[in-house]
Amino acid sequence: MTEQFKANFIKLQENFTRIFSILFEGGRAYLEFTDPTGVLEGGIELVAQPPGKRLRHISLLSGGEKSMVAIALLFSFLEINPSPFCVIDEVDAALDDHNIYRYISYLKKVAEHNQFITITHRRTTLEVCDNLYGVSMSKDGVSQLVSVRLTDYA
């Protein structure tokens, strides 16, 4: 258990550090054990430093920065443990246009090996999607599928 666990942790650590600096175009981030001597029992803490900023506790990060860190962590897990498909429901709600663009560029790369189903209101995200499904509420309060074209969202 220990060897396997340690090996996986190192792999996750490497992914997270790399993907973070791709999404933030710099800066650094890593995972550390709260108690380095007691690896098997202790907790894991996340440390993230956006480019040009000091190292501060992640609670001080902004809404959009927190979303980007969590997205980096998600992609790091998927790389270790690919999933037949992945559902992402409005993770882009807090992102500004610049960060959305970075997120979907990386998503496109990961989508070469994983299938993604994403729910979004953001136009920029729709531009990288291969298929589009519309849902709407009928008059009698029942959900139904409707066909949508990307141009409807212009």
Binding site: F5, N8, F9, K11, L12, T34, G43, I44, E45, L46, I58, G63, K66, S67, V69, A70, L74, F77, L78, I80, N81, P82, S83, P84, F85, C86, V87, I88, D89, E90, V91, A94, L107, K108, A111, Q115, F116, I117, T118, I119, T120, T125, L126, V128, C129, D130, N131, L132, Y133, G134, V135, S136, M137, D140, G141, V142, S143, Q144, L145, V146
Partner: protein, 165 residues
């Protein structure tokens, strides 16, 4: 292996049977607020064995069954069928198409099945044993939960990590 089709019937706001066909790559689901998009995410979590009704935004398990509107009767049961394409054989000993289903009647009777044969939840979990789906929170991200991941305590983060790898 990828998600080929999802069929919902009587699940939350999907009173009438609805079927979504997916292909590989990135699919987007769009629509106005309250139209039923996140109910699709809940349907996928549920058919894969989600036990916590709170994480499906309800109070009691029955809340997943269409409870009626001013113009339509409530449903007697909720059913979700998830069909995986296994043509690439990534799951040995399983056919080219795997249909996982879950059904719940108002009476509380519930039933899981793989390719129409009734089974236990354990068997559904074992299909995804070596993949990232289901057991870890990382492949099914519900609305609002991306921020919660960062708010977890070091011990919680460790648990998420242990399940994920």
């Amino acid at each position: 292996m990828y998600l080929k089709k999802l069929r919902l019937s009587g699940f939350k706001s999907f009173a009438d049977p609805v079927s979504l066909e997916f292909s590989e790559g990135i699919s987007a689901i769009v629509g106005p607020n309250g139209s039923g998009k996140s109910n699709i995410t809940d349907a996928i979590k549920w058919v894969l064995g989600e036990q916590s009704i709170k994480s499906l935004r309800g109070k009691k398990m029955e809340d997943v069954i269409f409870s009626g509107t001013e113009k339509k009767q409530a449903s007697g049961y909720a059913e979700v069928v998830l069909i995986l394409d296994n043509k690439d054989g990534s799951l040995e000993n399983y056919p080219q198409e795997i249909a996982i289903s879950r059904k719940l009647f108002r009476s509380g009777e519930s039933d899981y099945a793989i390719n129409k044969k009734s089974c236990k939840l354990k068997e559904i979990h074992s299909i995804f044993m070596d993949t990232g789906l289901g057991k870890n929170g990382y492949s099914l991200i519900s609305q609002g939960s991306i921020e919660n991941i960062l708010a977890s305590s070091p011990t919680e983060l460790r648990n998420i990590f242990e399940e994920a790898v």
